[in-house]
């Protein structure tokens, strides 16, 4: 309990734009406003064909609701500040980086190569050093998954430098 109060105090001592509640509020409001503006560019049903409400009305209503509720939790946080979250460790950012690498490789080279690279990257950065286990997660297991999906479920994976070796 004391720990939570300390964290809350630590968060309250920061300038408002560094506080978690402001960051969350700012991002949600920014995205919601962007989406709300984009609803004005949706096509409209001509009045003669229109039955009920326009296609943009429902999402507009939802976005307004989200904006109101987000503002409400932000104002509530003045009275009851959120606790300050721990700093994210390096392994978190490396895992995010592995997702970006996965997207690049899967788009340009090969889907399974991307899975293998991500697996070995994550496993190594999370502390695995044993070669057998690195091979297990990066080659053996993805191969088993590939065979299972391909042969049992009859799935065709996107072409790529490794997948093509199997298909052609």
């Amino acid at each position: 309990m004391k720990n939570v109060q300390d964290k809350k105090r630590a968060n309250k001592s920061l300038p408002f734009f560094f506080r978690d509640e402001f960051k969350v509020f700012f991002i949600i409001i920014l995205v919601s406003i962007f989406l709300l503006i984009s609803t004005f560019s949706f096509d409209k049903v001509p009045p003669i064909l229109n039955r009920g409400i326009q296609p943009a009305t429902f999402p507009k209503g939802l976005l307004v609701l989200i904006i109101i509720l987000t503002s409400f939790i932000y104002f509530l946080s003045f009275k009851n500040p959120w606790k300050k979250e721990k700093k994210l460790p390096k392994t978190f950012f490396l895992t995010i980086l592995s997702f970006i690498i996965f997207i690049i490789i899967s788009k340009t080279l090969d889907f399974f190569l991307a899975i293998a690279v991500l697996s070995v990257f994550v496993s190594y950065n999370w502390g695995e050093r044993r070669i057998f286990y690195l091979l297990l997660v990066s080659i053996i297991f993805p191969f088993v998954v590939f065979v299972f999906f391909e042969m049992i479920l009859g799935l065709r994976f996107p072409p790529g430098i490794i997948t093509n070796l199997y298909y052609y």
Binding site: P55, T95, F99, F102, Y133, F157
Partner: protein, 485 residues
């Protein structure tokens, strides 16, 4: 009723589902929801009944499996087992892990079977009532479901409402189903068909959990040794039978309400067990009643949550949302018509849930020691493997790489949502209810000629709106009451 269950294929599916569910339940971070989402693409090779039997057996066994980890390593395998840690682990530390697991197994089985009986009796009654429902009533019911989720779900009700509204917003992406006008597609053709359920659910549960695990690598679990699971003694039964029955009732009731099912049920079951106990001071120090109260309630919520899912097509929990998706993918639309047209299909589901509860009782007793060993698989090996299955499973549904990227996006989003106290469950329920909410609203307005006030002239709809207002006011009343205390 049991006729469809006699097929050997179905029994095999049940056996596999129960084992798989137990493994998922045991592994912290996974669970029946994520596991159900991961297995959903595989169910495409099965007939509809086998697919749903597989998903429901995972649901029942996975909910119980969380107790094994809760007792042995003080980490709930599933959120629903969080209350089990409070007394399960202290009892295990006293050298009575077998007794703790034995009580968890018995009370989970009783709770589970009790809830299946509730399901068999109440789902048809609710389905019959739903015959009276038109579009305005369904709209009001969906709104009631979402407000209940906000008010009795975990965490801040306002944050839950935002998450639920966000889930509904996601469902509006793509071509408008009434006019075929593009919404939020920004010229990307792949978005015209909307965002699939699987990429969102796998992202929000599996990938966000992978990111959470990446922040917890320094965490070391202290594991308590387990020699064998013991049946509770006569004294234990004398002490706990009332608690088990009470929690089974609580769990079934909470399960019926659209909320986070087992998690809320186990917390209420636990606190009620403490309130009625002759020895409340033992709670938190290894009380056998505490284990019974939490475990009977969370397993009873499984059958309860299936009641609105099957009778109305409104999911009672996150896992039943996955089951509902499984039904829809296989062309089965839950609701009153299902009860009239395909009763044998429903009997198959009821029977499967009953057998799954018996199977996990057997596996729990004889295999808990083995399942406990699964917790020894290090995260640095387990999660890259889960990633590979998540990616292939997500890709397999529509064979689109965009779906995989959407999954990763929702994974990152889900991580930050959880970090800042937003539950991801309302997003899933909102997404699945989105089309129903918007469709029934718009069709109602067509019926009412655009007059919103006409909703108030429909008694059933009006009742649901009043209940929604009460549900929204409930957290305010509760917090004021807590402050007074």
């Amino acid at each position: 009723m049991m006729a469809p269950m006699f097929s050997s294929k179905l029994l095999l599916v049940l056996l596999f589902g129960t084992l798989f569910g137990l493994i998922l339940g045991v592994l912290p971070g996974l669970g029946p929801t994520t596991g159900g989402a991961l297995i959903l693409p595989f169910t495409m090779t099965l007939d509809p009944l086998s697919a749903v039997v597989l998903l429901t057996s995972i649901y029942c066994a996975g909910t119980y499996g969380g107790a094994i980890t809760a007792v042995l390593i003080n980490t709930p395998g599933t959120p629903a087992a969080a209350a089990t840690c409070l007394d399960g682990y202290p009892l295990a530390q006293k050298g009575e892990a077998g007794r703790a697991l034995g009580m968890a197994t018995v009370s989970s089985t009783v709770g589970g079977i009790f809830s299946v009986i509730i399901l068999v009796f109440f789902a048809p009654i609710l389905a019959n009532l739903a015959y009276e429902f038109g579009q305005p009533e369904y709209f009001a019911l969906a709104i009631f479901g979402l407000t209940m989720l906000a008010s009795i779900g975990e965490g801040s009700p306002i944050k839950n409402l935002i998450a639920g509204a966000f889930g509904i917003l996601i469902s509006t992406i793509g071509k408008d189903f009434m006019t075929s006008i593009d919404r939020f597609t920004y010229g990307i053709n792949e978005l015209s068909v909307g965002i699939g359920f699987i990429p969102v659910v796998v992202g929000l549960f599996a990938i966000s959990e992978m990111l959470t695990q990446s922040t917890l690598l320094d965490q070391v679990f202290k594991r308590v040794a387990l020699k064998a699971v013991k049946l509770p003694s006569k004294d234990d039964y004398k002490k706990t039978w009332k608690t088990i029955l009470r929690s089974s009732g609580i769990g079934s009731f909470i399960g019926v309400l659209p909320a986070e099912g087992g998690t809320v049920a186990s917390l209420i079951g636990y606190s009620e067990a403490k309130r009625f106990s002759k020895n409340p001071e033992e709670f938190g120090k290894g009380s056998i009643e505490g284990i019974a109260g939490a475990e009977a309630a969370n397993n009873a919520a499984t059958g309860g949550a299936m009641v609105p899912t099957l009778a109305l097509g409104i999911p009672g929990s996150a896992t039943t949302a996955v089951i509902l998706t499984g039904l829809i993918i296989h062309g089965v639309r839950p609701g009153p018509d299902l009860f009239r047209e395909q009763p044998e299909f429903l009997y198959g589901i009821f029977g499967a849930m009953l057998i799954a509860n018996i199977l996990f009782f057997i596996f729990g007793f004889f295999g808990a020691k083995i399942f406990a060993r699964i917790t020894l698989v290090p995260n640095k090996i387990l999660w890259p493997m889960i990633f590979a299955v998540s990616v292939c499973g997500t890709y397999s549904l529509s064979q689109s790489i965009i779906d995989v990227w959407i999954m990763l996006f929702f994974g990152v989003l889900g991580f930050f949502m959880r970090r800042y106290g937003f539950s991801v469950v309302p997003v899933i329920i909102g997404l699945i209810l989105g089309e129903l909410v918007e469709g029934t609203l718009r069709q109602s307005l067509v019926i009412f000629d655009g007059n919103w006030l006409m909703f108030l002239t429909r008694p059933i709809a009006l009742t649901f709106f009043i209940l929604s207002l009460i549900a929204l006011a409930f957290p305010l009343i509760r917090s004021k009451k807590d402050k007074k205390l």
